[in-house]
């Protein structure tokens, strides 16, 4: 092994007297790539921020962090500023909010160069162009003048990588760098990250909840749980023969699509019968953009471009596609939250596209949204949240019995009805959201990315719950996700959407096993796999 670059020894982080990180120790050699795996609350981000000296003010770190022979804990703020962005740099999860919205990209990349290398503005600007070029952004000389909102998610994260590597750091810390990106983009960005780190002889700490991502990039891995290290070692050994129960659990939670290169063909579902519950015919949804200049014609965005489909009673119907492909628009139109520009949508005999009085529809179709934090009113009690659909649908009387039944159905104790959403974890909140959706006893449940905001192990539990509820309440389910593995697991039939149109449809096993379009194929090949092969897809 190469010379030691970083030695973290008995790191403890606490807020007041509550420990958040306890006794974390590890070392990192020059040019080595280490993965830190853990679910939310495991302390992985706090560990990273401790190394950067950027912990929030109310947190205290103790122990020792030796970087290149210097003790970082207790180093003065001035000295830390010399280290940050120069010898150690960081890449954050959400490039949209991590970049300054009102400063041009080039200027943001040039900033550490001027600060640490004393380059003039002109030299730094030239270097920024070169850096953008090296992370694979085309037309870098004009892109340096762009603002963050003018770039795509992938381009923004490439720009973040360029910024982190500007001063040729010895260590790059990447905190969930691709979690916010589409799979195909994730594969490319991870490729760039690895290539740039290697080209710069930098060491890398990659923090993520995604095991396949870690296995593709890193040589060693550290598994954190509740602020302590449960296991560490070479990545292939830890994932191949996990020694700890928790690691085993994490490895088992990796969806089957990510463990093998060949998607096992799912048995074909029973042929659909009867009349469709949902019937979508040639639906278009166009948005007219405001003109940027007087002489330009107004731009029209076709969010949906001639979509037709039938969903039959009792099936679980998957909708996959990248962000911007029209998945959520389709869902919103099916429950009447948006009106289509043209075309018809009929749900259980109710013409949703006419959209006069949609109240009868609320008894039939309900929706579960992605973000369980944002979709529950923080100032309403759980019981009121769940009973609200009943009240607004005019069902009189005391709903407390119904609320108890529903809470029980989603495996939550009945006595939480008096509490508020912030007291619950993401997974628990999503259960509450599901209970609310089930309140009017719908026949159709539309779930828009219901598990995307949840930790891997919570995802598994929530998916199992949805499967069980589907049987118990005899639901028809529409399951929308960018995550093919999840759809593969839960759905029988699926459509693949690209730019507002359905490009492929059929049984899940057939579509995922023998994709007929290159788009579907690239979606499948980009799924991170434990063998790491997706990076070269």
């Amino acid at each position: 092994m190469s010379a030691e670059l970083l030695r973290v020894d008995d790191l403890n982080v606490r807020v007041g007297s509550t420990p958040l990180v306890q006794g974390v120790s590890f070392t990192l050699g020059r040019g080595e790539r280490l993965g830190i795996i853990g679910e939310s609350g495991s302390g992985k981000t706090l560990t990273a921020l401790s190394i950067m000296g950027l912990l929030p003010d109310n947190l205290d770190a103790s122990g020792s962090i030796q970087f290149d022979g210097t003790e970082l804990l207790g180093l003065s703020e001035d000295d830390l500023c010399e280290v940050r962005g120069n010898a150690i740099s960081m890449i954050f999860q959400e490039p949209m909010t991590a970049l300054n919205p009102v400063m041009r990209i080039g200027k943001q990349i040039a900033e550490p160069l001027k600060l640490h290398q004393g380059l003039s503005s002109r030299e730094a600007a030239d270097t920024a162009v070169r850096l953008l070029d090296s992370v694979g952004i085309d037309r870098p000389e004009s892109r340096v003048r762009s603002f963050a909102h003018e770039l795509s998610g992938g381009q923004r994260q490439r720009a973040m990588i360029a910024m982190a590597l500007a001063c040729g750091p010895d260590l790059v810390i990447a905190d969930e760098p691709t979690t916010a990106l589409d799979v195909t983009v994730q594969a490319k960005v991870l490729g760039v990250l690895k290539e740039q780190v290697v080209a710069n002889d930098a060491a890398l700490i990659l923090i993520t909840h995604d095991l396949p991502v870690v296995s593709a990039i890193t040589e060693r891995v550290l598994v954190l749980r509740g602020g302590t290290v449960v296991e560490q070692g070479p990545t292939d050994v830890v994932f191949g023969r996990p020694a700890d129960d928790y690691t085993t659990q994490l490895v088992d939670a990796v969806p089957p699509m990510s463990t093998t290169a060949n998607v096992a063909l799912k048995p074909a579902p029973e042929p659909v019968v009867g009349t469709p519950l949902v019937s979508v015919r040639d639906v278009h949804k166009h948005y007219r953009l405001r003109r940027a200049r007087l002489r330009e014609p107004a731009m029209v965005v076709k969010a949906l471009d001639g979509v037709s489909l039938d969903i039959y009673p009792g099936e679980t119907f998957g909708v996959v596609g990248e962000s911007g492909s029209g998945k959520s628009t389709l869902a919103r139109i099916m429950v009447g939250l948006n009106r289509p520009t043209s075309g018809s949508v009929v749900v259980d005999g109710i013409d949703v596209s006419a959209g006069s009085d949609l109240r009868p529809l609320r008894d039939v179709a309900q929706m579960v949204f992605q973000d369980p934090m944002g979709s529950l009113d923080p100032r309403m009690r759980i019981g009121d949240i769940i009973a609200e659909p009943l009240r607004s649908l005019g069902t009189a009387g005391d709903h407390s019995q119904r609320v108890r039944t529903l809470l029980d159905a989603v495996s939550m104790p009945a006595n939480i009805a008096d509490r508020y959403p912030h007291e619950f974890s993401g997974g628990q909140r999503q259960r509450i959201a599901i209970a609310r959706a089930l309140a009017p006893n719908p026949t159709l449940l539309i779930a828009d990315e219901p598990v995307s905001a949840l930790d891997m192990s919570v995802q598994t539990v929530t998916l199992d719950l949805l499967k069980q509820l589907k049987e118990q309440f005899e639901l028809t389910m529409v399951f929308i996700s960018h995550d093919l593995s999840v759809v593969h697991e839960i759905c029988e039939r699926v459509i693949v959407m690209e730019r507002g149109a359905i490009v492929e449809r059929g049984d899940v096993g057939q579509v995922f096993g023998r994709p007929s379009t290159t788009y579907t194929e690239s979606l499948i090949n980009s799924i991170p796999r434990l063998d790491g092969g997706f990076l070269n897809a």
Partner: protein, 312 residues
């Protein structure tokens, strides 16, 4: 396109405001003809004067007539003095506009540093002191602040005049000096409000991810605040500043009386007590136009600060 749209909104608002001002004035009790002729006048005399003044025509006709003159700067004549209102308003505006703009400048100069200072020392002594000061500022009415300033700087120290206005032509610096204390009294109240907005906007900005990114690049706390935080924090404050300008202008009515300044506010006050409706109408319209103009400038500045505005 954004600029075209904003200017369009400005013109439509201006037109709407002119209609509102006109309608409100005509609903108000008090017939201008009767006011001019006094209580002893015969109904016939009043009627003939109404005809002469065009008051017996339909409301829309009167409005269009008034508007077509107003766009050429002719706001009619005062029923009390018989003088043309346009030039009179223009003259008064030469005092009120600089007074308001000076007050606005003082507000920015006071509130931005104080707000940023308080945010940078969040929950420390400095923050609390600023908080107490701004509470005090909020509680003080502008006219009382004016009186205190006069007592201190005019009566005791004799640095500034206690009131009156020499005129820009006669003494430029004297005029500036005469506006200083009134502008300051207006600014004290406004700064108290704006300081709180600046403080919370900066605090909000400091919690943003891009500030953390900036610090991960090696910027110190204050470098991150100055280079990345301020411009972002200024965006929401600017909107408030535009809205508060209306409050500031209405404050001039009182302050001009306190400092005996012959400004637009004083003119309006006099016009109202004399039931000089055309004068009030003209004055009110010009004040509304001024407020709309400032908000147009705010909207256009917004575009300069935030590249996302008008991009879609």
């Amino acid at each position: 396109m954004y600029v075209v749209r904003r200017v369009g909104v400005f013109l439509v608002s201006l037109l709407t405001a002119s209609i509102l001002v006109f309608v409100v004035m005509s609903i108000l009790p008090g017939d201008p003809a009767r006011v001019i002729l006094g209580t002893q006048a015969t109904p016939e005399a009043v009627e003939s004067l109404r005809e002469e003044l065009g008051l017996n025509r339909s409301l829309p006709t009167q409005y269009l007539d008034w508007l077509s003159h107003a766009v050429r700067g002719d706001l009619g004549e005062s029923v009390f003095t018989g003088q043309a209102i346009g030039p009179q308003v223009a003259n008064r505006l030469k005092i009120t506009a600089p007074l308001a703009l000076m007050a606005l400048t003082f507000t920015v100069l006071l509130s931005f540093p104080l707000g940023v200072f308080a945010a940078a020392r969040h929950r420390q002594a400095g923050d609390n002191i600023v908080s107490v000061i701004s509470q005090l500022g909020l509680a003080i009415p502008a006219f009382w602040a004016g009186l205190m300033l006069v007592t201190l700087f005019a009566v005791r120290l004799r640095w500034f005049p206690a009131g009156g206005f020499p005129g820009w032509g006669d003494s430029f610096f004297g005029s500036l000096k005469a506006l200083l204390l009134p502008a300051l009294s207006l600014a004290i109240v406004q700064s108290a409000i704006i300081t709180r907005y600046v403080r919370s906007a900066v605090l909000e900005t400091l919690r943003e991810d891009y500030i953390r990114t900036a610090r991960s690049k090696g910027l110190t706390r204050s470098q991150a605040l100055w280079r990345h935080g301020l411009r972002n924090a200024a965006i929401p404050v600017l909107t408030i500043l535009g809205l508060q300008f209306a409050a500031l202008l209405s404050g001039t009515v009182v302050i001009e009386s306190v400092f005996v300044l012959p400004g637009l506010g004083r003119m309006l006050l006099d016009g109202i007590t004399r039931r000089d409706l055309p004068l009030v109408q003209g004055g009110a319209f010009v004040i509304v136009a001024f407020i709309l103009l400032i908000n147009l400038i705010v909207d256009l500045t917004y575009r300069l600060l935030d590249p996302r505005v008008g991009a879609r």
